[in-house]
């Protein structure tokens, strides 16, 4: 174990008076009293919650305030399991009690409406302002509504995206339940880069699982603007094995590129509008950009996402602001809950080390994305990442996909671990 203490820990260990006495006995004097420091965290998803918890773990002397408008956070991860009828909405609900009571984070149930970077404070919807020394911005993502004509916030209640979990998940689940046998469920996945690359295809799998049991004459049609997708071979093998030809995936070049939709009739037009598909349940997942508050604060670049120093996650726009999770540009790391969790820890360590005058340590971290093709058939993609030459890159030779020829018991084990992963990461972020 590294046994290394800096002046601040030392002062905390022996008490300020004792430290001064001890230090003067050695002929060294402290460089002035320790300033009160505050970190404000915007957003209580896996990124922000983890950052808040680990800031307090790394330095229990820090005052940390987490601002999140919702009292309950519904995880997107495992929300496809709800659509598949495997679990209920309560099973994906997370709350902020442990952060507040066990970890000493001050949780403010509010929305940040402005980041006033010059004054180093954030303004809340209720009018109050919170000053900060360091600010962590973790607002997730926002949709680009200009990619599919006819889709926008006004129709979300009828045509759910269900890409932010909660009410949207419930709407889509209820529509699937109400659908007649023989119906068609159409998924329109987003363009790259987006939150959870394998997510739309896990969704197709688990809705097919539900159909197979309850509505076996129904179909899942994926109209994609891409030419391929994450874990494609593994998904397609599993689809053949479990669902025959129930799931059809159409790549852009095969006519999958959606031109526009008619929200009223649930019709989807592809190939410049020449081909029409009628959906009984329609799920449009628009392309994405960084969360709105990050856009408004000017933390984004032309790509719509936030450039950061990938060692510390410090914003390239403002040195007192750190951007983590889906909103950030994090090199080779995917936009996932696992990445957001890891980035929360990284930013927390960077902030604590910076405040004690230490350089940041080089990052080395992992990501695993589990997907269920069926309740007892799990697959995964994993990678180890390292900060190298100014960005986060995959470590050559590490990571990869579940084996293509793995026996069924391995798929079963991975399905169990997918559940175990959920229990652990939610505990590590909010517990």
């Amino acid at each position: 174990m590294d046994f290394k203490m800096n002046r601040r820990d030392f002062i905390r260990a022996v008490g300020a008076g004792g430290a001064a006495a001890a230090l003067s006995a050695c002929g060294t004097a402290p460089q002035g009293p320790r300033r009160r420091t505050d970190v404000v965290v915007i957003g209580g998803g896996p990124g922000g919650a983890t950052a808040a918890k680990y800031l307090r773990r790394f330095d229990p002397g820090l005052q940390v305030t987490l601002v999140e408008p919702a009292a309950t956070y519904y995880t997107c991860f495992a929300s496809n399991w709800v659509l598949g009828g495997m679990i209920g909405m309560d099973d994906i609900a997370q709350t902020y009690g442990a952060l507040q009571d066990q970890h000493g984070v001050r949780v403010v149930q509010e929305r940040v409406v402005a980041i006033e970077a010059d004054a180093r404070r954030v303004r809340l919807a209720g009018g109050e302002s919170l000053p900060y020394t360091k600010l962590v911005v973790a607002p997730g993502m926002e949709f680009r509504y200009d990619t599919v004509e006819g889709y926008g916030p006004g129709v979300e209640g009828d045509i759910p995206h269900a890409w932010k979990a909660g009410e949207q998940t419930r709407i889509l689940r209820d529509q699937l339940r109400a659908m007649e046998d023989g119906g068609v469920f159409v998924i329109v996945p987003p363009g790259n880069p987006y939150r959870c690359p394998p997510g739309p295809y896990e969704r197709a799998s688990l809705v097919a699982h539900y159909f197979k049991a309850e509505k076996p004459r129904s179909k899942v049609l994926i109209l994609d603007r891409k030419e391929g997708f994450s874990k494609q071979g593994l998904f397609m093998d599993g689809w053949r094995k479990y669902y025959g030809d129930m799931i059809e995936w159409v790549p852009a070049s095969g006519g999958g590129l959606v031109d526009h939709i008619d929200a009223r009739t649930r019709e989807v037009f592809t190939e410049s509008g020449f081909t029409r598909h009628r959906a009984d349940v329609l799920n449009v997942i628009p392309s994405q950009k960084a969360g709105r508050i990050a856009q408004e604060a000017g933390l984004t670049d032309d790509s719509g996402w936030c450039p950061v120093d990938q060692l510390t996650f410090r914003s390239r726009v403002d040195g007192d602001i750190y951007v983590i999770g889906d909103s950030s540009i994090a090199g080779a790391m995917p936009k996932s809950g696992h990445s957001a969790n890891t980035q929360g820890k990284t930013a927390a360590a960077a902030i604590v080390r910076e405040m004690s005058g230490e350089d940041m340590l080089a990052l080395s971290t992992v990501n695993t994305c589990y997907s269920l093709v069926a309740p007892d058939y799990g697959i995964s993609v994993a990678a180890v990442y390292r900060y190298q030459d100014g960005e986060i890159a995959k470590v050559p030779g590490s990571g990869g996909l579940s084996a293509a020829d793995a026996p069924d018991y391995v798929r079963r084990l991975e399905a169990r671990y997918a559940q175990g992963w959920y229990d652990s990461i939610t505990d590590d972020s909010w517990g």
């Binding site: 174990m1 590294d2 080395s364 971290t365 990678a383 990571g399 169990r416 175990g420 652990s424």
Partner: protein, 102 residues
Amino acid sequence: MKRMHLFAATITLAAATLGMTTAVQAQVSRGALMATTCFACHGTDGRSPGTMPSIYGYPPEIMMHQLKAFRDGTRPATVMDRHATGYTDEEIRLMAEYLSTL
């Protein structure tokens, strides 16, 4: 030089007397920071609340041996083989030593 020594001795004494804070700094050491990535799947401090194996409190030699066995494929795995190949001997040692203190 002498002053440095005295300073270090005072710290050790203070920390030992009060039995605190060493963990605080340790958690931001390289081994600690690397090991926090394990917690996402294996639970905070390596204490798993679900079906993932817990990984805290193993003697470092055993943890190092297991991670290297995952890396060279002698221990079968679902995903740990794909992770262990991303770490050097030195990194495995730092993480194993840290995890053993939890």
